[in-house]
């Protein structure tokens, strides 16, 4: 099929504007960018459906003259879903404003903490760095008990009665 010049240009322009707004830190602008991207995508799908024609309703036109109904069905639900998601983001903007008087996507502090993390979890620590009672039994790196214990030296003592009670 032959593409038009106009529709790709409109689609490209809307995408460019939408992406620019999407990369902003202000949530309002992100949402506006999202709306532009939504419109752009709808037009892209529509234009991929083929050239313009008559409405796909029997009785108004013959099936050969109709535009492709499938992209239309896809776009129709997309329009309504875009509305639902926009309402959700608006509620988020409101919430963010109410709590911290800001509506920006800040830097994720949790990610920064992970990046700066120096110590590891106790569950992964080297046994030598743990209290003796937290070491797994039979850990064999330490024979550091005082000499002269003629009964022999254990690796690491299990705390008494750790079995069940």
């Amino acid at each position: 099929m032959t593409p038009t010049v106009v529709l790709p240009v409109i689609v490209g322009g809307l995408y460019a504007a939408g992406v620019y707004l999407l990369l902003d830190r202000s949530l309002t602008r992100v949402l506006l960018g999202f709306l532009l991207l939504g419109n752009a995508t709808n037009l892209l799908v529509l234009s991929a459906g083929g050239p313009a024609g008559f409405a796909p309703i029997l009785g108004y036109s013959e099936p050969e003259e109709m535009t492709d109904p499938l992209p239309q069905a896809l776009i129709l639900t997309a329009i309504v879903i875009t509305f639902g998601v926009s309402a959700f983001v608006l509620a988020m903007i409101h919430r963010s404003w109410r709590l911290v008087h800001q509506e920006v996507v800040g830097t994720d502090e949790e990610d920064r903490r992970v990046a700066a993390r120096s110590a590891t979890d106790a569950d992964e620590l080297d046994p030598d760095d743990l209290d003796p009672e937290d070491r797994a039994a039979g850990h064999a790196d330490s024979l550091h008990t005082p000499d002269g214990d003629d009964m022999g030296v254990d690796d690491v003592d299990l705390p008494a009665g750790t079995g069940a009670r």
């Binding site: 099929m1 490209g12 830190r25 029997l58 069905a73 329009i79 509305f83 850990h139 064999a140 009665g161």
Partner: protein, 958 residues
Amino acid sequence: MLFLLFLHLLAGLLAPVFVRWWGRQAFLVLALVPAAGLVWTLAQLGTVLGGDDVTETVPWIPALDLDVALRLDALALTFAALVTGVGALVFVYCARYFAADDEGLGRFAGTLTAFAGSMLGLVLADDLLLLYVFWELTTVFSFLLIGGSGRRLAARRAASQALILTTAGGLAMLVGLIMIGQASGSFLLSEVVADPGTGSGMVAGTLLVLAGAVTKSAMVPFHFWLPAAMEAPTPVSAYLHAAAMVKAGIYLVARLAPGFADVPGWRPVVLGLGLATMLVGGYRSLRQNDLKLLLAFGTVSQLGFLLVLVGAGSRELAAAGLAMTIAHALFKSTLFLTVGVVDHATGTRDLRKLSGLGRRLPVLAAVGLLAGASMAGVPPLFGFVGKEAAFTALWEGGLASRTAAAFELTGLVLGSLLTAAYTLRFVWGAFARKRGVPDTVPAHPPGALFLTAPVVLALAGLVAGPASPLLEPVVGDYAETLPLLAPEYEELGLWHGVQPALALTAVTLLGGAALFAARAPLNRLQRRVAVGASADEGYWNVVQGIDRLSVLVTGTTQRGSLPAYLGTILVVVLALPGWILLTRAPWPGEWRAWDTPVQAMVGVVVITAALLALRIRQRLSAVLVVGVTGYGSAVLFVLQGAPDLALTQFLVETLTLVVFVLVLRKLPKDITERHRPRERAFRGVIAVAVGAFMAAVGAVALSARTATPVSVDYPEEAFEFGGGKNIVNVTLVDIRAWDTLGEISLLVVAATGVASLVFLRGRTGGVERITSSALAARRRRSGRAPRDRWLAATAILDPARRSVVLEVITRILFHTITVFSLYLLFSGHNEPGGGFAGGLVAGLALVLRYLAGGRYELGEAAPVAPGLLLGTGLLFAGGTGVAGLLLGAEVLQTAILETDVPVLGHIKLVTSLFFDIGVYLIVVGLALDVLRSLGAELDRQEDEDDPIELNPGEVVVR
């Protein structure tokens, strides 16, 4: 056999209930389950010895050719009897070991029962993949049993260590099993062993399977998880880590040996690792002071011994190995249970603190002594029988290479010598009176039931020695599957006369005694030659290294900035699909300017509005120009021939604007600019590139379309099967109804999300309604009657905020609009419209009421909870699908009912109408929920000067 597995599963599920009802006595009931397994297993003895295997096959996943294939032969019978017999006794023991109020006892009971079932399934499985499933189940249950409540760090670490090591081996084994299955052309274990196939794939698969067996059975260098697993309660150690789970590797090697012992690499791995493990375990065992740890290292040592015997691949050694497996299960469980009783009675397991316990608990001491004697190989106990059979076999043949046999024999004798030494250390440590240590007084001496399990097991070991010829049929039945290397096969028996093996036994016993006598210098020596490194240390270093690496990778890639992430994604889009677009895509050969010139005019408006949106800092203006692009799109839809889309787009755009305004009234007028010029330039470059890319995609997509569209038959199908003329609507409610069902569910989620974000708690219920008394009071005060007649609740409004013109218009239009929305809904099947458009129109009617009369007016207009609308809508849509199923059609299939009714004439009812009603209700519910949250609730918060809703103690970081 399957019923036994189901019995375990059922008992495992019910175990927590039993424990709640009967406390620790529940274990006595649960013991009946493995006991039933034992009875059934022994009842099959005659059949199995008669040469017939008991098999059972149930199709499981036919598509994958996966069956639940179970098979009981002599080997499986031996292991099944051990698993169920020891299991039943351990359950009885549990009934006294635990206190009634122990935390998590119900969970423990369930897990232990489930483990018993998985282990039984493992030894019965005749399918490679089924075997793997049970194999991993035992790993998981072992993890749960070691970890216990998860409160203790050491237990958690031991549990995860065991899990990581055994699943790593298990995954290698899975790959190996699949390779073996491919090589031999069958996944049935019995067929694979009979004909293992050939080729390098089979060799590699065999080595991978051995990796699984070696980790599971705690061979060097993976032996360290077993001592660490001693964090588990003693019954678990006795069952899982002595009799059952660690024997899984031994079982697998024994099972595969008849077919795979001659595979290159098998004997070096099995014989080498087995021997090394036996020596390392024995050596380490000699320096333990904790009785349980001493036994744990002893178990490691014995597992190495067993692996050598069952993996050697000769008839005489296999028989010795199977006998030794039985002996080990009997004596090692007994010893663990004995330690449990000691621990229970005295509160310690430290052999430096225990003294003189033998005289105070004579029965226990006798049990420990018997089991210990069996472990050391003292006649006439069963351990002696097994060990002597092994020595004889190696002396007279056993391995094809005489050098290897001599080497192994020397190693095994040395290992047995260590065994005798640590056995003496154990018996002495637990029961002897020691100089300088005060006598230990048991706080609560064990009762009869507590001692039942160790006594029975110890006596079994005693009786089995002289009675060993009775076991010969079973052991021999398995051993016959392997080639005999020695001149003649020597049957199991207590007395074979004076022969070299007897002398070797004497050497091990005397040497062990000497080693024990010299324990003090020996320990000093051990300390002197100790090296700083150990396998355990290596494990933790590897784990820590992986942890550091993951932190490094996460920290490098996750910078915490949303624009950075989005930018990365977009750059990747440009780099990969963009490159393909440039190099591979079929560029259109010819272009048209437009479908109609109007498109170009609209395009100019849309692009201008979009560019304006980039620079405008005032929020409301920015929203309005973005709205222009939306309306522009709607016009383009009209031009393209899509009236349904245009209608929906117009309605949604209007609704979006209203909702934006509702929120923006709470925000500052302007958007603060937060980006440096360089950032903006970078964003601009990405944006322009993405725009160009997407424009190219649009053009290429159209020129690439050469096949017939899937929708070419839609018009005919829509009328024929869907009974409608509006093809888009029929597509939504019939042809692609599944899609629509998913999408309206998403709308329900979005509506719920909006309400949750605004209300935070108590978001159910409808819009707040005005009470009649408040209205009456207000009327009295205002004193001007006629003005409040137009709408139901406007009287409550401040006169300055009222607009009578709007009230009048609303009064006139509201019902008309509502009727129109219903018209769109019902006519949508044949004309433009449908559930989406109708619902949006109804939503706009509600907007009108809200704008004219405030939040109480909204409550009067829609006195219904939005959640109810959303739920009913989903019920309608889903119910249509189910109804189709009930009527014998496909899910969501449309039925057309036509009838002539007097007065009304010809009526045609299409069932997909009910689906569309569901869509309608959900869209109305969404609009109402958004208005209620972002409209009415925000008003209420302002009216009542409601601060941020916080729970007491909640802190908000500003």
